[in-house]
């Protein structure tokens, strides 16, 4: 389980790095999306992994150790929603820059070659 999550984070993050270093805006956005998955899972994993122990406490007398850590979950939940908002912002900047400059290069102009 742990090794799978670790590899998953690594693969997504690596693909993300490759993509955000590319010259086209769409590649950049895709890279950021992948990176945000990786980072979200990474933060989530800080509460350690647990299967079938959702943090839903049906009675007041419980043993906290029997539940998954709710704090990283709450943080990641907000991160997912904020991530959505920033993706929308990137997207609008992406199409706005393309309309304004006529190019979809990240610097707003085609490289001289």
């Amino acid at each position: 389980m742990e090794i799978v999550i670790a590899l998953a984070v690594g693969v997504m993050f690596g693909s993300g790095i490759w993509l955000i270093l590319r010259p086209r805006t769409f590649q950049l956005i895709t890279g950021l999306l992948l990176m945000s998955y990786a980072v979200n899972i990474f933060i989530f994993a800080m509460g350690r992994l647990s299967v079938d122990r959702p943090p839903i406490t049906l009675s007041p007398d419980i043993d906290p150790a029997q539940f998954a850590d709710p704090l990283p979950q709450a943080l990641v939940l907000t991160a997912i929603v904020i991530g959505f908002a920033t993706t929308a912002l990137y997207l609008v900047i992406m199409i706005g820059a393309r309309g304004l400059t006529g190019s979809d290069h990240v610097d707003g102009k085609e490289p001289r070659e």
């Binding site: 389980m1 799978v4 999550i5 590899l7 998953a8 690594g10 693969v11 997504m12 993050f13 693909s15 993300g16 790095i17 490759w18 993509l19 270093l21 590319r22 086209r24 769409f26 590649q27 956005i29 895709t30 890279g31 999306l33 992948l34 990786a38 979200n40 990474f42 989530f44 992994l49 647990s50 959702p54 943090p55 839903i56 406490t57 049906l58 906290p64 539940f67 998954a68 709710p70 704090l71 709450a74 939940l77 907000t78 997912i80 929603v81 904020i82 959505f84 908002a85 920033t86 929308a88 912002l89 997207l91 609008v92 992406m94 199409i95 706005g96 393309r98 309309g99 990240v106 610097d107």
Partner: protein, 980 residues
């Protein structure tokens, strides 16, 4: 030796003095543009209220009581918000309020109907509050905060007419100098606090011996002096004050002569018991004062601008006060406080008179003005009285404090050293000369045509000047009964056990100071006559000798070199290329943690969660999707998008697998919405077709770069893998998670701990987050309003023109109503209410089971979204009225009001409260207030999503419209040519 924090249960009178102006400032800002009268009544009401409070405190003050009010600010750091009023603070409060009231009255008539008055009065009131804050602060750090607020409001007021370049420049200069000084002051205060161990003014003032014997004394003194000297426009920082004259005249009168510039000398008087009495004090403070007094007075003679003359005269008089403080004997301090009051009286009235003259004649140029006593007899008389006070003519208040100043200079020099007295007499002569220069505008004939024919100003515009000039006379003739009691209060409070015996009388008999006064008076008249008729004063454009020491020029040069240095740095170290920046960022991301991280101390391995082949299997797919998306993103955007979506779904599944159902739900919904969003954006990107030539043309450099990036990507992935694995196999240290798990049900009234965290324990975070969401949505909306598509993507896409696509024949709604999308159309429209119910269900159960405002909001947004996708924007908007802006506003309001609601019950912001309702059919229902908060979250999420997606969807409609218009335009000339 801690002075206890006073009980703050009594009426917060002092706090109301400080905060009422700020509240009024907000009200003033929201009034309409032309509400001059209402603004006036508001501001005057504030000043009158303050005066009533202050005067009602007089009995306490006359008994020598020190009033203290306070509440916690940062108790952990030993910081309290503390207001403290003693005699000195009381006198300054009175000064700020009286002059404030008069200036407000004056400004009512001075400001033209075209000026945006709400801004003016709002800033003026904010200044009043800040200045009262400086005067009444009982905590030094808090004093610095208000101090900087006065700099800020001064900046805003100088730049009031921001269309004028000189106003902008003057505002910038004043702010840079005084705010930098304020930072020095902060540092000085911190040093002082370090020495004494407290920032409480009472404790600091009582610790004079300790401070003066400390090694850090000089550091503290220098830093505090820098703050005070910049604020009070002392040499070499005096240059900002003349440039501040670009402000409207009421501002010059209030801030830049009567009150704000006095903050510096006020601070020195305030800290006199703690800091004064050493040679360093005398040299630093006195030295700056002497230079300022001579330079200011001398340059003032050569000004051609009425306000410029008054500004330099103010500098010189502030210098005089500074010298007195520098001398530092108790009698000198009495003279300093006395002169602060006197100067405020006559200089404020002179500025107002100058404003009247400017207002009536249309010019402030001394070379043009003349003979005004015929047209403005009353104003002329008043101005002459006030200038006589400024010159130090007997029977006026300026004379008294100047006499005291002369006496102190004699005292400090003893029998042998006369240089101080000589400087004082020279300054006296100069001030007589510039006062004569000022009143010369009332005599003789105008040198040129005036821009406007002057008349006496309205009755109430002149009233403040009348009152102030009258005060000059009263104080000058009967000081002991008029100003005496007030001055006694201030002196007793600031000098404490050192309070000297002094005698406020007009006539002290024939003595040396009187002789000096007479020399100054006649010397000044002679000097003016010589300059006027021998040296052609009117023609000189700059002051002799001193024009080379131009502080303003030095300031500009310094600023320019700073800018150039910054530009140079950016050129050398910066790049505008995003790829290079990101490359650096990623390299740092790899290198820095490697440098910082060591191996953890022990390698205790946790019992692992076991290995599930199915889980590995889904991540095989997820990983493959991520890598292929990276591969495809350049030439196959749609494919890449689908693949990224695949990774997202796997991520959601992972959350579900690993006991985070809320995250899984949210991720799933966000994934849906994001994909739709990106799909809508794809259309505006240029076509990019993969070709063999392109691949072949890639140069060696390209391949090197790609290889480097690939290495970086692999390395980054590896680092993250190792890091994640290292964390996961180690036991977690004690976290606060247990607290949340144990208290969610009992304290938060919900069993879904994640949701209780979001809407209750950490609701403030969530509040911030939904605000960010709303802001982003509005930014997206605003950006799209300005959006112009690139020419080659403005037309209808190729695919839609192909005869195979029904879109070329039918509108989207026709397709959904009767075309090939008929069946899904009916199906999805029927689905809308069901999805609404599902959203409601997830919302309702959110507090106890997975769900909540975020998820429900997204589900509801998706429900609307599918309608758009199916039938097109036109159809949906004809059938459903969506007002995303209102959803946003309503949601934020609801969340905010819920939070504020807890205040009404005396709990901190956003405290949750659970109500138990007994409803007839539904039975007992328990409704936590967090539920209402969550409703706000829901509304904001719906509003945000809708606003962004709808705005984006409408771009296609707009672009089509534009394209068809352009086509029509293009067709027109062709048709007309054909006709020819």
């Amino acid at each position: 030796m801690a002075v206890p924090l006073p009980d703050s249960h009594g009426p917060m009178l002092l706090a109301s003095l400080v905060f009422v102006p700020f509240i009024a400032s907000l009200i003033a800002a929201s009034m309409p543009q032309d509400a001059r009268n209402r603004e006036f009544w508001l501001a005057a009401g504030v000043a009158v209220y303050g005066l009533i409070v202050a005067i009602s405190l007089y009995p306490e003050m006359s008994e020598g009581t020190v009033l203290r009010e306070g509440f916690d600010w940062l108790p952990a750091q030993g910081l309290y918000f503390l207001l403290r009023m003693d005699g000195l603070a009381w006198v300054f409060t009175l000064l700020v309020l009286v002059i404030g009231l008069l200036v407000v009255l004056y400004a009512r008539y001075y400001m033209s109907p075209n000026d945006p008055v709400p801004r003016f009065f709002s800033f003026l009131l904010a200044f009043m509050g800040s200045m009262l804050g400086v005067v009444l602060s009982g905590n030094l750090v808090q004093l610095v905060v208000f101090w900087e607020l006065t700099s800020l409001t001064s900046f805003l007021l100088i730049g009031y007419w921001h269309h004028r370049a000189d106003a902008r420049r003057g505002a910038r200069m004043a702010f840079t100098v005084t705010a930098t000084g304020g930072l020095c002051l902060l540092a000085g205060v911190l040093v002082l606090g370090h020495i004494v161990g407290s920032y409480d003014l009472d404790i600091v003032l009582a610790a004079g011996e300790l401070i003066r014997s400390d090694d850090l004394y000089l550091t503290a003194l220098l830093l505090i002096a820098l703050g005070a000297l910049t604020k009070s426009a002392q040499f070499p920082f005096h240059f900002w004050l003349p440039h501040a004259m670009a402000a409207p005249t009421p501002v010059s009168s209030y801030l830049h002569s009567a009150t704000m510039v006095k903050a510096g000398v006020f601070l020195l008087v305030r800290l006199w018991p703690a800091l004064a009495g050493t040679p360093e004090w005398t040299w630093i403070i006195g030295g700056a004062g002497v230079c300022t007094l001579l330079i200011g007075a001398f340059i003032a003679i050569f000004q051609h601008d009425l306000k410029g003359l008054l500004a330099y005269s103010t500098i010189s008089h502030l210098g005089l006060i500074t010298v007195l403080i520098g001398i530092g004997t108790p009698l000198a301090m009495v003279a300093a406080i006395f002169h602060i009051l006197n100067h405020a009286t006559f200089k404020a009235s002179l500025f107002m008179a100058a404003g009247i003259i400017d207002h009536e004649t249309g010019t402030r140029d001394l070379r043009l003005l003349g003979g005004l006593r015929h047209k403005l007899p009353v104003t002329a008389t008043l101005a002459i009285v006030a200038s006589a006070a400024m010159a130090g003519v007997p029977l006026l208040n300026g004379f008294l404090s100047k006499e005291m100043f002369f006496a102190e200079t004699l005292h400090v020099g003893g029998d042998r050293n006369w240089w101080m007295s000589v400087a004082a007499v020279a300054m006296g002569m100069f001030s007589v000369a510039y006062s004569l220069r000022f009143i010369s505008i009332f005599f003789g004939k105008p040198a040129g045509e005036l821009p406007r024919d002057p008349h006496e100003p309205p009755r109430w515009m002149r009233f403040p000047v009348e009152l102030l000039a009258f005060t000059c006379l009263v104080v000058g003739i009967a000081p002991a009964i008029s100003i005496g009691p007030v001055l006694d209060l201030a002196v007793a409070a600031s000098l404490r056990e050192h309070t000297p015996d002094y005698n406020l009388a007009t006539w002290h008999g024939w003595n040396l100071p009187l002789v000096m006064s007479i020399i100054a008076l006649f010397g000044g008249i002679t000097l003016y006559a010589v300059l006027r008729w021998r040296f052609n004063l009117r023609e000189r454009t700059r002051a002799p000798l001193l024009s080379h020491f131009n502080g303003a020029q030095a300031y500009e040069t310094a600023m320019q070199s700073l800018t150039r240095a910054a530009e140079w740095l950016v050129r050398r170290l910066g790049t505008s290329k995003l790829q290079k920046q990101l490359l650096m960022l990623m390299l740092m991301l790899l290198i820095v943690p490697l440098l910082l991280a060591g191996l953890p101390p022990d390698w205790t391995i946790l019992p692992l969660e076991g290995f599930d082949p199915l889980f590995a299997g889904i991540w095989l797919i997820g990983g493959a999707c991520a890598v292929s998306a990276a591969w495809m993103a350049k030439y196959h955007r749609l494919t890449a998008l689908v693949l990224v979506g695949g990774t997202g779904i796997i991520t959601a599944a992972t959350f579900l697998w690993l006991s985070a159902p809320d995250l899984a739900l949210t991720q799933l919904m966000v994934e849906t919405v994001t994909t739709v969003l990106l799909l809508l954006g794809l259309r505006w990107l240029p076509p990019r077709i993969e070709s063999a030539e392109m691949q072949a043309a890639a140069s060696r450099r390209d391949w090197t770069r790609r290889a480097l990036h690939m290495m970086l990507a692999v390395a980054g992935g590896l680092v993250m893998t190792v890091l994640t694995y290292a964390v996961l196999v180690h036991p977690a240290s004690d976290t606060i998670a247990d607290f949340f798990l144990l208290n969610a049900l009992s304290g938060g009234g919900g069993s879904n701990v994640v949701n209780v965290l979001l809407v209750d324990f950490r609701a403030f975070d969530t509040m911030g987050e939904i605000t960010v969401l709303a802001i982003v949505a509005l930014i997206v909306y605003a950006l799209l309003r300005r959006f112009r598509p690139a020419p080659d993507s403005a037309e209808v896409p190729q695919q839609q023109l192909h005869a195979f696509d029904p879109a070329s024949r039918q509108t989207p709604s026709e397709q959904a109503d009767s075309g090939y999308l008929f069946v899904p159309g009916v199906y999805l429209r029927t689905l809308l209410p069901f999805m609404g119910v599902i959203a409601a269900y997830f919302f309702m159960r959110g507090h106890n089971l997975p769900g909540g405002g975020f998820v429900a909001g997204l589900i509801f947004a998706v429900a609307i979204l599918v309608q758009y996708m199916l039938a097109g924007a036109t159809w949906v908007e004809a059938h459903i009225t969506l007002r995303p802006h209102r959803w946003l506003g309503f949601g934020l309001l609801l969340a905010g009001v819920t939070g504020l609601g807890s205040w009404a019950f005396g709990h901190p912001f956003l405290t949750s409260h659970t109500a138990h309702l007994h409803l007839p059919v539904l039975g007992e229902l328990h409704v936590p207030s967090a539920f209402v908060f969550d409703l706000g979250v829901f509304a904001v999420v719906v509003g945000t999503t809708m606003l962004m997606l709808v705005a984006l969807a409408h771009q296609s409609l707009r672009a089509h419209k534009k394209a068809s218009e352009q086509a029509a335009d293009a067709a027109m000339p062709a048709a007309s040519e054909g006709a020819l």
